[in-house]
Amino acid sequence: MEGQLEYLFAGFAVFWAGLLVYLVWLQARLRALQAEVRRLEERLAEEVPVAEATAATRSASAARVAPEGGA
């Protein structure tokens, strides 16, 4: 049973290295998703005024066209 320490070291190393890789991957995924959610929420907030402005322009031009057409 000489040289068993290297197997003991290898057994612990597999566990700790695997755990480290998993935690790093999980943290990277969590950060990427948090950034994506922030970006999408900002875009949604920007899109609301644009969509409202477009709708207002459309209704204003429709209101302008309607009396002319009616006259």
């Binding site: 197997y7 057994g11 566990f15 969590l30 998703l33 959610v37 999408l40 899109e47």
Partner: protein, 241 residues
Amino acid sequence: MSWLVGQASRIYAFRWVTLPPLVGVGMFALIAASLVVAPRESVEGEVQRVFYIHFPSALTAYGALFVVFVSSIALLWTKDMRWDAIARAAAGVGVLFTAFTLGTGAIWGRPTWGVYWTWDARLTSTLILLLLYGGYLLARNLADPTDEQAARYGAVFAIFAFADIPVINMSVRWWRTLHPQPMVVGSDGPAMPLEMVAVMMIGLVGVGLLATWLIVLRSETELLGVRTQALRARLDRRMGV
């Protein structure tokens, strides 16, 4: 029931404060106990200390996959997609700890059995477990996380795949295997010294806490993924895509 849910929510609210320090203490205790406190095994020598990681990893994998089993039943019962996120999170952790069990077992097997791997019933059924839940994760990751039909198919698969765990447990009794018979929970009590049982219990608590923390972290990630998909869909609708 509502009182129970309220209490559970109150405890869950403290997860970021309580879990990381508890995991740190548990894992430090595991290292110290397995390398320093546990007695040297007379036949196998120092390499037997791998047991204190190998056995808790196996039990934790079964625990995590039991969470998948229960969450999958809850998903089919309630149709609440949050259960799917929990099932996917627990399956990831279960696969990780099944891989640790196989990896540490192979390293322990080389000096004691003379081989890293053999097509023994216990080892093969554990490999099948890894492939079953690895396949489940692959299929769920390929599908949209908000796809309810894919989630239901996944839940049914996860429930049936859980049947492999009793087979793994009974494999050393049903077939002649190289893997030893149960030493911790035998018919005549534990077949190992009490110091070893105590260190093993520390390992179970430490690795169990670690798995709980990982499932919580992964569940938050999966729920964030679902939220991202919902936000993308909302933005697409608004832009008229």
